[in-house]
Symmetry: C2
Subunit: 261 residues, 2 copies
Amino acid sequence: VIGSVALVGAGPGDPGLITVRGAHLVAQADVVVTDRLVAPELLDLARPDAEVVDVGKAPRRGPSQEAINGTLVDRARRGLRVVRLKGGDPFVFGRGGEEALALAMEGIPFEVVPGVTSAVAAPALAGIPVTHRGVAASFAVITATLAGGERNDLRRIASVVDTLVVLMAAGRLEEVCGEIGAGGRDTGEPAAVVASAGTPDQRVVVSTLGTLPERAAGAAIEAPATLVVGPVVGLSAILGWGGRVTDGVSVVSRGQAPAHD
Amino acid sequence: VIGSVALVGAGPGDPGLITVRGAHLVAQADVVVTDRLVAPELLDLARPDAEVVDVGKAPRRGPSQEAINGTLVDRARRGLRVVRLKGGDPFVFGRGGEEALALAMEGIPFEVVPGVTSAVAAPALAGIPVTHRGVAASFAVITATLAGGERNDLRRIASVVDTLVVLMAAGRLEEVCGEIGAGGRDTGEPAAVVASAGTPDQRVVVSTLGTLPERAAGAAIEAPATLVVGPVVGLSAILGWGGRVTDGVSVVSRGQAPAHD
């Protein structure tokens, strides 16, 4: 009997932001494959006898993507029900497509359970809607890794969308903000970086495109971090319900959220 | 005692795609405000004594946005815990920002619980990753409503991103695909429309930018529908795990998903 694999979006840092179906599949799984971008609390949902495979900082500083694919195929071939947890959504810069292709090529039954993507949720958790009527009617998502010619893409995309979201932006803020400015965005335009979104360590720096890199450096922003540029960022001053957000090195802890529990 | 409001992303059609935190808040709520884009099964999570306010086809053909804002403020002022369910994610063309602003202006405590956005999930549920290494390193999201000058935006954005996602595309496919072509995309490029994503009525038509409108008309595609254009659409032939996806009027029912339960 062949097993199966579910590629499950684990959402951004907050373990409550996994889907109900994703949580159900984790609870049923024989094997859970996880990595550093997944909230560790989600492993508490797994059966005590489930095998947990943590690929850590893969694929850059851990097992290769091929090794991960091989683990998924191997466990499914043994008849096991496998859940592969992916930070955010599996298909938004998550290499979920590569894992799904590997499974399809090997004839392993699989499904994809979409998740809450950090591209939308990290800004949201800082009180920034990526769209807002009369303010922003489009948004684009790109990564800061700038591999293979994406540098030009960043400039061109920055020049045409209302809201620009850049994932994996920590450590490259100066370079990325410079490219966005080179794409024609005003250096006075509101910009924010959200680090460790949805976790108790969430940190938000709101400033302008021109000054954000310096301000973020002062606030010790670390990965994972999401950059958002556009007039919607200005709404965070009113909608940043997790704490006060102002220009500068303000740090917002989500632990202050006032709503009901 | 003042109440509070949670703006909760209900995800696309599948009720299992609400977040764990969102489901928890629905189960605790005194009042649940919903609309036609929210899976009706989610109301079964509410307490039997909870008030359910269905604003139906608002704001276009139902209560105005102001009336909905007023309902949220009114119930919170009575000390009630209110959950406002929004299809997809509250901040992706959901007017969640407007509701949040109204609450902030009235001093009502609120939080936003991000959801699974149809912009990513509708393609995913048809086996289409919006990004894929070596195929697509950027995506943009826009609506087909084309209000207030967005027509030009559609052309310009289509010309620079790898994957273009257009929400609320049903009924405007011919116009929208024409604009995307006018933006410089090849009419032979793969394109798909996904209707009623995540529900038992999910229908997917995969074709090319040039022929999709005619094929979709033949397949009786209805709202809500998401259009996706770009080379990643070609992956659906392999990754469309819910059934066979081929060029033409193929219809995919998600009910055929083979993975474990």
